[in-house]
Protein backbone atom coordinates (compact mmCIF):
# COMPACT_ATOMS: atom_id res chain seq x y z
CA UNK A 1 0.00 0.00 0.00
CA UNK A 2 1.55 3.25 -1.09
CA UNK A 3 0.77 6.80 0.06
CA UNK A 4 -1.53 5.42 2.71
CA UNK A 5 -4.29 7.72 3.82
CA UNK A 6 -3.82 10.24 1.01
CA UNK A 7 -5.82 10.75 -2.18
CA UNK A 8 -2.99 8.95 -3.95
CA UNK A 9 -3.46 5.82 -1.87
CA UNK A 10 -2.56 2.93 -4.08
CA UNK A 11 -3.17 -0.62 -3.09
CA UNK A 12 -1.18 -3.28 -4.84
CA UNK A 13 -1.51 -7.04 -4.56
CA UNK A 14 -4.95 -7.02 -2.92
CA UNK A 15 -5.71 -10.51 -4.15
CA UNK A 16 -2.32 -11.61 -5.24
CA UNK A 17 -0.89 -15.05 -4.87
CA UNK A 18 2.24 -16.36 -6.57
CA UNK A 19 3.86 -19.64 -5.68
CA UNK A 20 7.17 -20.60 -7.15
CA UNK A 21 8.24 -24.22 -7.53
CA UNK A 22 11.78 -25.48 -7.17
CA UNK A 23 13.99 -25.13 -10.26
CA UNK A 24 11.51 -22.90 -12.02
CA UNK A 25 12.83 -20.00 -14.08
CA UNK A 26 10.09 -17.39 -14.10
CA UNK A 27 10.16 -14.31 -16.29
CA UNK A 28 8.02 -11.46 -15.02
CA UNK A 29 6.91 -8.74 -17.41
CA UNK A 30 4.53 -5.81 -17.13
CA UNK A 31 4.29 -2.10 -17.71
CA UNK A 32 5.74 0.52 -15.36
CA UNK A 33 3.90 0.66 -12.07
CA UNK A 34 2.42 -2.80 -12.46
CA UNK A 35 4.17 -3.97 -9.30
CA UNK A 36 7.08 -6.02 -10.60
CA UNK A 37 9.76 -4.38 -8.49
CA UNK A 38 7.43 -4.17 -5.50
CA UNK A 39 6.98 -7.91 -5.78
CA UNK A 40 10.74 -8.46 -5.66
CA UNK A 41 11.13 -6.03 -2.77
CA UNK A 42 8.48 -7.91 -0.82
CA UNK A 43 10.25 -11.22 -1.41
CA UNK A 44 13.69 -9.83 -0.49
CA UNK A 45 12.49 -7.86 2.51
CA UNK A 46 13.42 -4.40 1.22
CA UNK A 47 9.73 -3.67 1.80
CA UNK A 48 7.23 -5.17 4.21
CA UNK A 49 3.63 -5.88 3.25
CA UNK A 50 0.82 -4.18 5.23
CA UNK A 51 -1.17 -7.37 5.13
CA UNK A 52 -0.49 -10.87 3.86
CA UNK A 53 2.45 -13.20 4.24
CA UNK A 54 5.61 -14.15 2.42
CA UNK A 55 6.46 -17.83 2.68
CA UNK A 56 9.86 -19.20 1.79
CA UNK A 57 10.50 -22.93 1.69
CA UNK A 58 7.59 -23.51 4.06
CA UNK A 59 8.76 -20.84 6.50
CA UNK A 60 6.97 -17.56 7.15
CA UNK A 61 9.56 -14.86 6.52
CA UNK A 62 7.21 -11.85 6.45
CA UNK A 63 8.96 -10.11 9.34
CA UNK A 64 12.50 -11.36 8.70
CA UNK A 65 14.94 -8.48 8.02
CA UNK A 66 16.43 -8.12 4.54
CA UNK A 67 19.99 -9.12 5.45
CA UNK A 68 18.83 -12.41 6.96
CA UNK A 69 16.77 -13.30 3.91
CA UNK A 70 19.79 -12.49 1.73
CA UNK A 71 21.54 -15.54 3.19
CA UNK A 72 19.30 -17.74 1.04
CA UNK A 73 18.53 -15.34 -1.78
CA UNK A 74 20.94 -14.07 -4.44
CA UNK A 75 20.01 -10.81 -6.09
CA UNK A 76 21.27 -8.86 -9.10
CA UNK A 77 19.94 -5.33 -9.32
CA UNK A 78 19.29 -3.09 -12.31
CA UNK A 79 21.98 -0.56 -11.39
CA UNK A 80 25.44 -2.02 -12.16
CA UNK A 81 26.90 0.15 -9.38
CA UNK A 82 24.91 -1.67 -6.71
CA UNK A 83 26.03 -5.25 -7.27
CA UNK A 84 29.71 -4.78 -6.48
CA UNK A 85 31.93 -2.57 -4.34
CA UNK A 86 33.47 -0.05 -6.76
CA UNK A 87 36.51 0.74 -4.59
CA UNK A 88 37.45 -2.87 -3.96
CA UNK A 89 39.27 -5.02 -6.50
CA UNK A 90 37.55 -7.85 -8.36
CA UNK A 91 39.52 -10.26 -6.20
CA UNK A 92 38.38 -8.60 -2.98
CA UNK A 93 34.77 -8.50 -4.16
CA UNK A 94 34.87 -12.23 -4.90
CA UNK A 95 36.63 -13.06 -1.64
CA UNK A 96 33.84 -11.31 0.28
CA UNK A 97 31.15 -13.08 -1.71
CA UNK A 98 32.73 -16.48 -1.16
CA UNK A 99 32.71 -15.88 2.56
CA UNK A 100 28.96 -15.25 2.60
CA UNK A 101 27.17 -17.09 5.41
CA UNK A 102 30.50 -17.77 7.10
CA UNK A 103 32.28 -15.86 9.85
CA UNK A 104 33.90 -12.55 8.95
CA UNK A 105 36.70 -12.98 11.45
CA UNK A 106 40.30 -11.82 11.60
CA UNK A 107 41.69 -14.30 9.10
CA UNK A 108 43.32 -12.88 5.99
CA UNK A 109 40.66 -12.06 3.43
CA UNK A 110 42.58 -12.82 0.24
CA UNK A 111 45.17 -15.52 -0.44
CA UNK A 112 46.72 -17.32 -3.40
CA UNK A 113 44.41 -20.25 -2.85
CA UNK A 114 41.43 -18.05 -3.69
CA UNK A 115 42.96 -16.63 -6.83
CA UNK A 116 43.17 -19.97 -8.65
CA UNK A 117 39.57 -20.83 -7.96
CA UNK A 118 38.27 -17.39 -8.92
CA UNK A 119 40.27 -17.49 -12.13
CA UNK A 120 38.44 -20.58 -13.40
CA UNK A 121 35.15 -19.06 -12.31
CA UNK A 122 35.82 -15.89 -14.29
CA UNK A 123 37.13 -17.80 -17.29
CA UNK A 124 33.82 -19.65 -17.43
CA UNK A 125 31.87 -16.46 -17.89
CA UNK A 126 34.06 -15.39 -20.81
CA UNK A 127 34.26 -11.69 -20.10
CA UNK A 128 38.06 -11.56 -19.95
CA UNK A 129 37.94 -10.67 -16.28
CA UNK A 130 40.29 -13.48 -15.23
CA UNK A 131 43.38 -11.42 -16.03
CA UNK A 132 42.14 -8.26 -14.35
CA UNK A 133 41.53 -9.47 -10.83
CA UNK A 134 43.61 -6.71 -9.27
CA UNK A 135 41.52 -4.02 -10.98
CA UNK A 136 38.95 -1.99 -9.04
CA UNK A 137 35.42 -3.15 -9.79
CA UNK A 138 34.43 0.48 -10.35
CA UNK A 139 36.59 0.69 -13.45
CA UNK A 140 34.77 -2.12 -15.26
CA UNK A 141 32.10 -1.56 -17.90
CA UNK A 142 28.44 -1.95 -17.00
CA UNK A 143 28.21 -5.36 -18.68
CA UNK A 144 31.31 -6.68 -16.95
CA UNK A 145 30.07 -5.41 -13.61
CA UNK A 146 26.70 -7.10 -14.02
CA UNK A 147 28.41 -10.36 -15.00
CA UNK A 148 30.54 -10.03 -11.88
CA UNK A 149 27.45 -9.26 -9.80
CA UNK A 150 25.80 -12.38 -11.18
CA UNK A 151 28.81 -14.52 -10.28
CA UNK A 152 28.80 -12.98 -6.80
CA UNK A 153 25.08 -13.56 -6.30
CA UNK A 154 25.32 -17.22 -7.31
CA UNK A 155 28.67 -18.06 -5.74
CA UNK A 156 27.33 -19.65 -2.57
CA UNK A 157 24.40 -22.04 -2.29
CA UNK A 158 21.18 -20.10 -2.62
CA UNK A 159 17.57 -21.19 -2.81
CA UNK A 160 16.38 -18.36 -5.02
CA UNK A 161 17.98 -16.07 -7.57
CA UNK A 162 16.36 -12.69 -8.16
CA UNK A 163 17.19 -10.78 -11.33
CA UNK A 164 15.77 -7.28 -11.12
CA UNK A 165 15.92 -5.97 -14.72
CA UNK A 166 19.59 -6.83 -14.62
CA UNK A 167 20.11 -6.15 -18.33
CA UNK A 168 18.15 -2.89 -18.46
CA UNK A 169 21.12 -0.54 -18.08
CA UNK A 170 23.25 -2.28 -20.71
CA UNK A 171 23.66 -1.88 -24.46
CA UNK A 172 22.00 -4.57 -26.66
CA UNK A 173 25.17 -6.59 -27.22
CA UNK A 174 26.21 -6.64 -23.56
CA UNK A 175 22.73 -7.57 -22.42
CA UNK A 176 22.66 -10.40 -24.96
CA UNK A 177 25.94 -11.77 -23.59
CA UNK A 178 24.77 -11.34 -20.01
CA UNK A 179 21.58 -13.26 -20.74
CA UNK A 180 23.62 -16.12 -22.17
CA UNK A 181 25.78 -16.19 -19.05
CA UNK A 182 22.65 -16.06 -16.93
CA UNK A 183 21.14 -19.02 -18.75
CA UNK A 184 24.37 -20.98 -18.32
CA UNK A 185 24.65 -20.29 -14.60
CA UNK A 186 20.98 -20.99 -13.92
CA UNK A 187 20.97 -24.31 -15.75
CA UNK A 188 24.35 -25.42 -14.37
CA UNK A 189 23.38 -24.77 -10.78
CA UNK A 190 19.69 -25.66 -11.28
CA UNK A 191 18.67 -22.40 -9.63
CA UNK A 192 15.13 -21.36 -8.91
CA UNK A 193 15.01 -17.98 -10.62
CA UNK A 194 12.71 -14.99 -10.73
CA UNK A 195 13.63 -12.55 -13.48
CA UNK A 196 11.93 -9.21 -14.05
CA UNK A 197 12.51 -7.81 -17.51
CA UNK A 198 11.19 -5.21 -19.91
CA UNK A 199 12.51 -7.17 -22.83
CA UNK A 200 9.64 -9.31 -24.13
CA UNK A 201 11.97 -11.37 -26.29
CA UNK A 202 14.06 -12.41 -23.28
CA UNK A 203 10.89 -13.26 -21.40
CA UNK A 204 9.82 -15.55 -24.26
CA UNK A 205 13.24 -17.05 -25.01
CA UNK A 206 14.40 -17.74 -21.50
CA UNK A 207 12.74 -19.41 -18.60
CA UNK A 208 10.18 -22.11 -18.00
CA UNK A 209 7.30 -19.88 -16.94
CA UNK A 210 6.04 -16.41 -17.84
CA UNK A 211 4.01 -14.10 -15.64
CA UNK A 212 2.55 -10.82 -16.86
CA UNK A 213 1.60 -8.32 -14.22
CA UNK A 214 -0.85 -5.48 -14.37
CA UNK A 215 -1.83 -3.19 -11.48
CA UNK A 216 -0.78 -5.71 -8.92
CA UNK A 217 -2.31 -8.76 -10.51
CA UNK A 218 -0.96 -11.58 -12.58
CA UNK A 219 -2.99 -11.26 -15.77
CA UNK A 220 -1.10 -14.01 -17.56
CA UNK A 221 0.65 -17.07 -16.17
CA UNK A 222 1.94 -19.55 -18.71
CA UNK A 223 4.22 -22.53 -18.21
CA UNK A 224 5.31 -25.83 -19.65
CA UNK A 225 4.59 -26.70 -23.26
CA UNK A 226 2.37 -23.68 -23.73
CA UNK A 227 5.27 -21.43 -22.75
CA UNK A 228 7.56 -23.05 -25.32
CA UNK A 229 5.15 -22.22 -28.16
CA UNK A 230 4.68 -18.65 -27.08
CA UNK A 231 6.01 -15.92 -29.34
CA UNK A 232 6.60 -12.24 -28.81
CA UNK A 233 3.50 -11.23 -30.85
CA UNK A 234 1.15 -13.11 -28.51
CA UNK A 235 2.40 -11.20 -25.53
CA UNK A 236 2.44 -7.91 -27.35
CA UNK A 237 -1.24 -8.38 -28.25
CA UNK A 238 -2.17 -9.04 -24.68
CA UNK A 239 -0.03 -6.11 -23.58
CA UNK A 240 -1.77 -3.70 -25.95
CA UNK A 241 -5.22 -4.92 -24.94
CA UNK A 242 -4.49 -4.15 -21.31
CA UNK A 243 -3.11 -0.77 -22.21
CA UNK A 244 -6.30 0.13 -24.11
CA UNK A 245 -8.49 -1.10 -21.26
CA UNK A 246 -6.69 1.06 -18.77
CA UNK A 247 -6.81 3.99 -21.17
CA UNK A 248 -3.13 4.37 -21.93
Amino acid sequence: MFNKGTVDENRLFLNFNLSIDDHEFISVIGSNGSGKTTLLNLICGTMRPDIGTVMFGGENITSMPEFKRARRIGRVLQDPKMGTCPNLTILENLALAENKNRKFNFARAVNKHHEERFRTMLENCGMGLENRMGVLAGSLSGGQRQALALIIATMTDIDLLILDEHTAALDPKSSEILMQITQKVVSEKKLTTLMVTHNLRYAVEYGSRLVMMHSGEAVMDIRGEEKKQLCVEDILDKFNKISIESGN
Binding site: M82, N105, F106, R108, A109
Partner: protein
Protein backbone atom coordinates in the same frame (compact mmCIF):
# COMPACT_ATOMS: atom_id res chain seq x y z
CA UNK B 1 69.40 27.54 12.17
CA UNK B 2 68.63 26.31 15.67
CA UNK B 3 65.11 27.72 15.44
CA UNK B 4 64.57 25.97 12.14
CA UNK B 5 65.63 22.58 13.50
CA UNK B 6 63.51 23.08 16.59
CA UNK B 7 60.54 23.83 14.40
CA UNK B 8 61.15 20.68 12.36
CA UNK B 9 61.22 18.56 15.48
CA UNK B 10 58.05 20.22 16.75
CA UNK B 11 56.29 19.53 13.43
CA UNK B 12 57.39 15.87 13.50
CA UNK B 13 56.30 15.45 17.11
CA UNK B 14 52.88 17.09 16.87
CA UNK B 15 52.24 15.76 13.39
CA UNK B 16 52.85 12.20 14.60
CA UNK B 17 50.74 12.55 17.72
CA UNK B 18 47.79 13.98 15.81
CA UNK B 19 48.29 11.31 13.12
CA UNK B 20 46.58 8.92 15.56
CA UNK B 21 43.49 11.12 15.37
CA UNK B 22 43.82 11.30 11.60
CA UNK B 23 43.89 7.50 11.38
CA UNK B 24 40.68 7.37 13.37
CA UNK B 25 39.02 9.86 11.08
CA UNK B 26 40.35 7.97 8.10
CA UNK B 27 38.29 4.99 9.27
CA UNK B 28 35.09 6.95 9.83
CA UNK B 29 35.28 9.60 7.12
CA UNK B 30 37.20 7.91 4.34
CA UNK B 31 36.47 4.20 4.72
CA UNK B 32 33.00 4.37 6.22
CA UNK B 33 31.94 7.63 4.54
CA UNK B 34 30.59 8.88 7.88
CA UNK B 35 31.47 12.49 8.81
CA UNK B 36 31.84 11.93 12.54
CA UNK B 37 31.82 15.08 14.67
CA UNK B 38 31.82 13.19 17.94
CA UNK B 39 35.66 13.13 17.97
CA UNK B 40 35.52 16.67 19.34
CA UNK B 41 34.15 14.96 22.45
CA UNK B 42 36.02 11.65 22.41
CA UNK B 43 39.46 13.21 21.94
CA UNK B 44 39.23 15.14 25.26
CA UNK B 45 37.59 12.06 26.83
CA UNK B 46 40.82 10.17 26.22
CA UNK B 47 42.85 13.12 27.55
CA UNK B 48 40.77 13.72 30.67
CA UNK B 49 40.55 10.03 31.52
CA UNK B 50 44.32 9.70 31.17
CA UNK B 51 44.91 12.76 33.37
CA UNK B 52 42.69 11.47 36.13
CA UNK B 53 44.08 7.93 35.97
CA UNK B 54 47.72 9.07 36.02
CA UNK B 55 47.02 11.29 39.02
CA UNK B 56 45.73 8.16 40.75
CA UNK B 57 48.89 6.25 39.86
CA UNK B 58 47.76 4.10 36.96
CA UNK B 59 50.48 2.93 34.57
CA UNK B 60 50.71 5.45 31.67
CA UNK B 61 50.85 2.69 29.01
CA UNK B 62 47.74 1.10 30.48
CA UNK B 63 46.11 4.55 30.23
CA UNK B 64 46.49 4.37 26.45
CA UNK B 65 44.55 1.11 26.36
CA UNK B 66 41.86 2.40 28.71
CA UNK B 67 41.48 5.61 26.70
CA UNK B 68 41.10 3.58 23.50
CA UNK B 69 38.40 1.42 25.11
CA UNK B 70 36.54 4.48 26.41
CA UNK B 71 36.66 6.04 22.94
CA UNK B 72 35.22 2.84 21.51
CA UNK B 73 32.35 2.94 23.98
CA UNK B 74 31.55 6.53 23.01
CA UNK B 75 31.81 5.64 19.32
CA UNK B 76 29.35 2.83 19.89
CA UNK B 77 26.80 5.33 21.19
CA UNK B 78 27.24 7.50 18.09
CA UNK B 79 26.78 4.41 15.94
CA UNK B 80 23.71 3.21 17.82
CA UNK B 81 22.12 6.64 17.41
CA UNK B 82 22.69 6.54 13.68
CA UNK B 83 21.79 2.90 13.07
CA UNK B 84 18.98 2.24 15.54
CA UNK B 85 17.40 5.70 15.80
CA UNK B 86 18.09 6.66 12.15
CA UNK B 87 19.57 10.05 13.05
CA UNK B 88 21.78 11.55 10.35
CA UNK B 89 25.55 11.37 10.98
CA UNK B 90 26.10 15.10 11.51
CA UNK B 91 23.40 15.34 14.17
CA UNK B 92 24.64 12.18 15.94
CA UNK B 93 28.03 13.86 16.19
CA UNK B 94 26.63 17.13 17.51
CA UNK B 95 24.53 15.35 20.13
CA UNK B 96 27.49 13.23 21.23
CA UNK B 97 29.85 16.18 21.33
CA UNK B 98 27.46 18.31 23.40
CA UNK B 99 26.79 15.49 25.81
CA UNK B 100 30.48 14.74 26.19
CA UNK B 101 31.14 18.31 27.33
CA UNK B 102 29.36 17.48 30.58
CA UNK B 103 30.70 13.95 30.86
CA UNK B 104 34.29 15.14 30.54
CA UNK B 105 33.79 17.97 33.02
CA UNK B 106 32.18 15.70 35.60
CA UNK B 107 34.94 13.14 35.06
CA UNK B 108 37.68 15.70 35.62
CA UNK B 109 36.05 17.24 38.70
CA UNK B 110 35.40 13.83 40.17
CA UNK B 111 38.96 12.70 39.52
CA UNK B 112 40.74 15.81 40.76
CA UNK B 113 38.43 16.71 43.60
CA UNK B 114 36.79 19.75 42.02
CA UNK B 115 39.39 21.21 39.69
CA UNK B 116 38.58 21.92 36.02
CA UNK B 117 42.02 20.87 34.87
CA UNK B 118 43.96 17.69 35.58
CA UNK B 119 47.68 18.47 35.96
CA UNK B 120 50.25 15.74 36.43
CA UNK B 121 53.53 17.40 35.52
CA UNK B 122 55.38 15.60 38.27
CA UNK B 123 54.02 12.15 37.46
CA UNK B 124 55.60 9.62 35.13
CA UNK B 125 54.20 9.41 31.61
CA UNK B 126 55.04 7.33 28.55
CA UNK B 127 57.45 10.08 27.54
CA UNK B 128 59.83 9.42 30.43
CA UNK B 129 59.28 5.68 30.62
CA UNK B 130 62.20 3.30 30.26
CA UNK B 131 61.48 3.02 26.52
CA UNK B 132 62.17 6.75 26.10
CA UNK B 133 65.59 6.50 27.77
CA UNK B 134 66.81 4.60 24.71
CA UNK B 135 67.53 8.09 23.40
CA UNK B 136 70.19 9.65 25.66
CA UNK B 137 69.33 13.00 27.18
CA UNK B 138 72.43 14.61 25.68
CA UNK B 139 71.03 14.05 22.16
CA UNK B 140 68.08 16.34 21.61
CA UNK B 141 66.76 15.94 25.15
CA UNK B 142 63.10 15.58 25.98
CA UNK B 143 61.74 16.73 22.60
CA UNK B 144 63.52 14.06 20.59
CA UNK B 145 62.34 11.45 23.05
CA UNK B 146 58.78 12.62 22.47
CA UNK B 147 59.24 12.24 18.71
CA UNK B 148 60.67 8.77 19.25
CA UNK B 149 57.82 7.57 21.48
CA UNK B 150 55.15 9.09 19.21
CA UNK B 151 56.76 7.45 16.19
CA UNK B 152 56.71 4.04 17.85
CA UNK B 153 53.04 4.36 18.84
CA UNK B 154 52.04 5.60 15.38
CA UNK B 155 53.93 2.80 13.61
CA UNK B 156 52.44 0.10 15.84
CA UNK B 157 48.93 1.50 15.31
CA UNK B 158 49.45 1.82 11.57
CA UNK B 159 50.66 -1.75 11.20
CA UNK B 160 47.79 -3.10 13.30
CA UNK B 161 45.24 -1.07 11.33
CA UNK B 162 46.72 -2.14 7.99
CA UNK B 163 46.62 -5.77 9.06
CA UNK B 164 43.03 -5.42 10.27
CA UNK B 165 41.88 -3.86 7.00
CA UNK B 166 43.18 -6.94 5.19
CA UNK B 167 41.22 -9.40 7.30
CA UNK B 168 37.77 -10.63 6.35
CA UNK B 169 36.29 -8.36 8.96
CA UNK B 170 38.25 -5.36 7.76
CA UNK B 171 37.30 -6.02 4.16
CA UNK B 172 33.65 -6.13 5.19
CA UNK B 173 34.10 -2.72 6.85
CA UNK B 174 35.53 -1.29 3.63
CA UNK B 175 32.71 -2.89 1.63
CA UNK B 176 30.10 -1.35 3.94
CA UNK B 177 31.49 2.13 3.43
CA UNK B 178 31.68 1.54 -0.30
CA UNK B 179 28.27 0.00 -0.95
CA UNK B 180 26.00 -0.70 1.97
CA UNK B 181 23.66 -2.84 -0.11
CA UNK B 182 26.53 -5.18 -0.88
CA UNK B 183 26.90 -5.95 2.81
CA UNK B 184 23.16 -6.58 3.07
CA UNK B 185 23.34 -8.92 0.08
CA UNK B 186 26.12 -10.83 1.85
CA UNK B 187 23.61 -11.55 4.58
CA UNK B 188 25.28 -9.24 7.07
CA UNK B 189 23.71 -6.43 9.06
CA UNK B 190 25.42 -3.32 7.71
CA UNK B 191 24.41 -1.40 10.84
CA UNK B 192 26.54 -3.60 13.08
CA UNK B 193 29.56 -3.09 10.84
CA UNK B 194 29.02 0.68 10.86
CA UNK B 195 28.93 0.74 14.65
CA UNK B 196 32.16 -1.25 14.72
CA UNK B 197 33.85 1.26 12.41
CA UNK B 198 32.74 4.19 14.54
CA UNK B 199 34.03 2.41 17.64
CA UNK B 200 37.45 2.02 16.04
CA UNK B 201 37.53 5.60 14.80
CA UNK B 202 36.66 7.08 18.16
CA UNK B 203 39.02 4.68 19.89
CA UNK B 204 41.86 6.19 17.89
CA UNK B 205 40.63 9.72 18.65
CA UNK B 206 40.67 9.02 22.40
CA UNK B 207 44.09 7.38 22.08
CA UNK B 208 45.40 10.55 20.43
CA UNK B 209 43.91 12.55 23.31
CA UNK B 210 45.67 10.31 25.81
CA UNK B 211 49.07 10.64 24.11
CA UNK B 212 48.80 14.42 23.76
CA UNK B 213 47.67 14.89 27.36
CA UNK B 214 50.67 12.85 28.53
CA UNK B 215 52.97 15.05 26.48
CA UNK B 216 51.43 18.23 27.89
CA UNK B 217 51.32 16.91 31.43
CA UNK B 218 47.78 18.16 31.80
CA UNK B 219 44.30 17.62 30.44
CA UNK B 220 41.17 19.73 30.23
CA UNK B 221 37.87 20.01 28.42
CA UNK B 222 39.13 22.67 25.99
CA UNK B 223 41.49 20.23 24.26
CA UNK B 224 38.73 18.93 22.01
CA UNK B 225 38.05 22.24 20.29
CA UNK B 226 38.82 22.05 16.58
CA UNK B 227 39.76 18.36 16.53
CA UNK B 228 37.27 17.49 13.78
CA UNK B 229 38.72 20.18 11.56
CA UNK B 230 42.28 19.14 12.31
CA UNK B 231 41.63 15.44 11.76
CA UNK B 232 39.60 15.87 8.59
CA UNK B 233 42.10 18.34 7.14
CA UNK B 234 44.90 15.82 7.72
CA UNK B 235 42.93 13.04 6.04
CA UNK B 236 41.96 15.17 3.06
CA UNK B 237 45.43 16.66 2.60
CA UNK B 238 47.06 13.24 2.84
CA UNK B 239 44.72 11.52 0.43
CA UNK B 240 44.63 14.30 -2.16
CA UNK B 241 48.40 14.85 -2.17
CA UNK B 242 49.36 11.19 -2.39
CA UNK B 243 46.38 9.82 -4.32
CA UNK B 244 48.49 9.05 -7.37
CA UNK B 245 51.12 7.13 -5.44
CA UNK B 246 49.68 3.69 -6.06
CA UNK B 247 51.78 1.63 -3.68
CA UNK B 248 51.13 3.94 -0.72
CA UNK B 249 48.54 2.76 1.78
CA UNK B 250 45.75 5.03 3.00
CA UNK B 251 47.11 4.96 6.54
CA UNK B 252 50.52 6.22 5.37
CA UNK B 253 48.80 8.97 3.39
CA UNK B 254 46.92 10.34 6.40
CA UNK B 255 49.98 10.15 8.68
CA UNK B 256 51.91 12.25 6.16
CA UNK B 257 48.82 14.44 5.76
CA UNK B 258 48.87 15.14 9.48
CA UNK B 259 52.55 16.14 9.33
CA UNK B 260 51.93 18.39 6.31
CA UNK B 261 49.03 20.02 8.16
CA UNK B 262 51.22 20.74 11.17
CA UNK B 263 53.96 22.10 8.92
CA UNK B 264 51.54 24.47 7.19
CA UNK B 265 50.22 25.62 10.57
CA UNK B 266 53.72 26.11 11.95
CA UNK B 267 54.79 28.13 8.90
CA UNK B 268 51.86 30.51 9.37
CA UNK B 269 52.72 30.91 13.04
CA UNK B 270 56.37 31.53 12.18
CA UNK B 271 55.24 34.44 10.02
CA UNK B 272 54.26 36.15 13.25
CA UNK B 273 50.48 35.80 13.30
CA UNK B 274 49.20 36.46 16.85
CA UNK B 275 47.96 33.36 18.70
CA UNK B 276 44.42 34.78 18.91
CA UNK B 277 44.09 33.89 15.25
CA UNK B 278 45.02 30.21 15.71
CA UNK B 279 41.60 28.76 15.11
CA UNK B 280 40.98 30.94 12.08
CA UNK B 281 44.24 29.67 10.61
CA UNK B 282 43.15 26.08 11.25
CA UNK B 283 39.83 26.72 9.54
CA UNK B 284 41.55 28.32 6.55
CA UNK B 285 44.01 25.46 6.16
CA UNK B 286 41.03 23.08 6.18
CA UNK B 287 39.30 25.19 3.54
CA UNK B 288 42.38 25.16 1.35
CA UNK B 289 42.71 21.40 1.81
CA UNK B 290 39.11 20.96 0.66
CA UNK B 291 39.71 23.09 -2.43
CA UNK B 292 42.90 21.20 -3.26
CA UNK B 293 41.13 17.88 -2.69
CA UNK B 294 38.22 18.90 -4.95
CA UNK B 295 37.92 17.38 -8.43
CA UNK B 296 37.83 20.72 -10.25
CA UNK B 297 41.06 21.92 -8.74
CA UNK B 298 42.76 18.62 -9.43
CA UNK B 299 41.82 18.73 -13.09
CA UNK B 300 43.25 22.24 -13.29
CA UNK B 301 46.36 21.13 -11.49
CA UNK B 302 46.96 18.27 -13.90
CA UNK B 303 46.44 20.60 -16.88
CA UNK B 304 48.92 23.15 -15.54
CA UNK B 305 51.63 20.61 -14.95
CA UNK B 306 51.27 18.66 -18.15
CA UNK B 307 54.31 18.95 -20.39
CA UNK B 308 53.90 21.52 -23.25
CA UNK B 309 54.03 18.68 -25.77
CA UNK B 310 50.97 17.01 -24.31
CA UNK B 311 49.18 20.31 -24.11
CA UNK B 312 49.59 20.81 -27.84
CA UNK B 313 48.04 17.42 -28.44
CA UNK B 314 45.02 18.43 -26.42
CA UNK B 315 44.59 21.51 -28.55
CA UNK B 316 44.71 19.45 -31.74
CA UNK B 317 41.97 17.19 -30.50
CA UNK B 318 39.69 20.03 -29.57
Amino acid sequence: MGVFVNNLILIAEEGLMYALLAMGMYITYSILDFPDLSVDGTFPLGAVLTGVLIIHGVNPWLCLVIAFAAGMAAGMLTGLMNVKLKIIPLLCGIIMYTGMLSINLVLIKFGTGGSAIASFFTKNTIFNSSLATVIPKSVGGFTLRAVFISLIIVIVCKILLDLYLKTKNGLLLRATGDNERYTTMLGKNSGTIKILGLMLGNGFAALAGSVIAQRKGSADQQMGVGMVVLGLASVIIGISVFRRVKIMKGTTMVILGSIIYKAAYQIVLALGVPTDWNNLIKALIFLIALIIGGAKFQALFIKLFKSPKNREKDVEVT
